[in-house]
């Protein structure tokens, strides 16, 4: 295994208190505003997709010690370098040392509202019937994979029930690796807390994930 996500935190033994925050407090330093805007503006150029950027962030070696917008900036730097848009020497120098790569679709101020309103829908037309139906019991894949995935570790190899069929969506695992969209049926799968965490967990508690069909197998 060479791929390691450091962002897969569900169920980990972290005991820190969750610290509530008032509604209006969005940023804690001026650079955080810039980090948000730069990330969104570069994302809109289409040089990479959302799954690629999640993958770039979650594999940062020091993910755990960075604040959230610092993760975004470090992820952005990494994507810019990997896609040949900016050199590490240019980032270090704080200025352009080579000409820009042509052909990028720059997000202009006037287009921001319509770009945000459009978003990036991931639903695609169905070409094959869904393999599973609501109410059916399934088991999630138990093996770890050597690439970006959206099946959290705590939900691997667990028995759950199909709660909703959400349509066919761009498959994050493939999309993040640059293998194209490879759309797959997406399901909300619900697990009892006892299935996930053992017999001491409360009975009236459950967790659902949204799982693409390749994550699931029928329960024999």
């Amino acid at each position: 295994m060479s791929y390691r996500s450091r962002a897969d935190l569900g169920g980990q033994d972290i005991r820190d208190r969750v610290v509530p925050e008032p509604e209006g407090k969005l940023f804690h330093a001026p650079w955080e505003r810039q980090a948000l805007a730069l990330t969104l503006a570069m994302g809109a150029t289409g040089a990479w997709n959302l799954d690629t950027s999640r993958s770039a962030r979650e594999t940062l070696p020091d993910y755990g010690s960075l604040s959230y917008y610092a993760i975004w900036i470090r992820g952005l730097e990494r994507l810019l370098i990997e896609h040949g848009l900016v050199g590490p020497d240019e980032i270090a120098a704080g200025q352009m040392l080579r000409p820009a790569r042509p052909g990028l679709e720059v997000l202009h101020a006037i287009d921001v509202p319509v770009t945000l309103a459009r978003g990036a829908p991931t639903q695609r037309p169905a070409t094959v019937p869904a393999r599973f139906a609501v109410g059916e019991r399934v088991r999630t894949r138990s093996a770890a994979v050597d690439h970006h995935t959206r099946l959290p570790a705590y939900a691997r190899g667990k028995v759950g029930r199909i709660d909703q069929v959400r349509g066919v969506h761009v498959f994050a695992d493939a999309h993040a690796q640059g293998l194209g969209e490879r759309p797959q049926w997406l399901y909300t799968v619900v697990f009892s807390a006892r299935e996930l965490w053992g017999g001491d967990a409360p009975q009236r508690q459950s967790v659902s994930i949204d799982a693409w069909e390749p994550y699931l197998e029928p329960l024999a």
């Binding site: 969750v18 790569r101 959206r150």
Partner: protein
Amino acid sequence: MDLRVRALRTVLEQKGYIDPAALDVLIDTYETKIGPRNGARVVARAWVDAVFRSWLLQDGTAAIASLGYGGRQGEQIVALENTPSVHNLVVCTLCSCYPWPVLGLPPTWYKSSAYRARAVKDPRGVLADFGVTLPEATEIRIWDSTAEVRYLVIPRRPAHSENMAEEQLVSLVTRDSMIGTGLARAPDDMR
């Protein structure tokens, strides 16, 4: 970080990859236009309008779009109704997926390791951090946003709010109540 971000912005500007004016519009959008008051209007409408409420639960994306909200990070929105017997709580254990068109940008705690680690395993402990205690018999349903579906919790309408108009009800709906870490405010708290 401040210098590092400034340096990066300079390089991107010099290369012509970004329009500086677009950065200002992006920031202004999320500071002043797209935030949890949008979601609060959705919830208040659902409280007063039974037809809207059933539409919202049936097809959240379309019902929410009818109030003018949708798009980035909310291309498909599912509304989850809290009831006396079931309490919904939303998390993204893998990153920070959040319904931007109705709630804006996520608060720091939503992105924190503690919330992401604990919400799926110890929801009552997390709720206690927010000062919320639910009856023992209440079922807790946690929704881990692992794909591009985004979840909006419809909190229970507080007692003694029967005579309030939709516009007044909006102010009872807190951001946290639409994530599931809080409850809607009681009308008394508003005085």
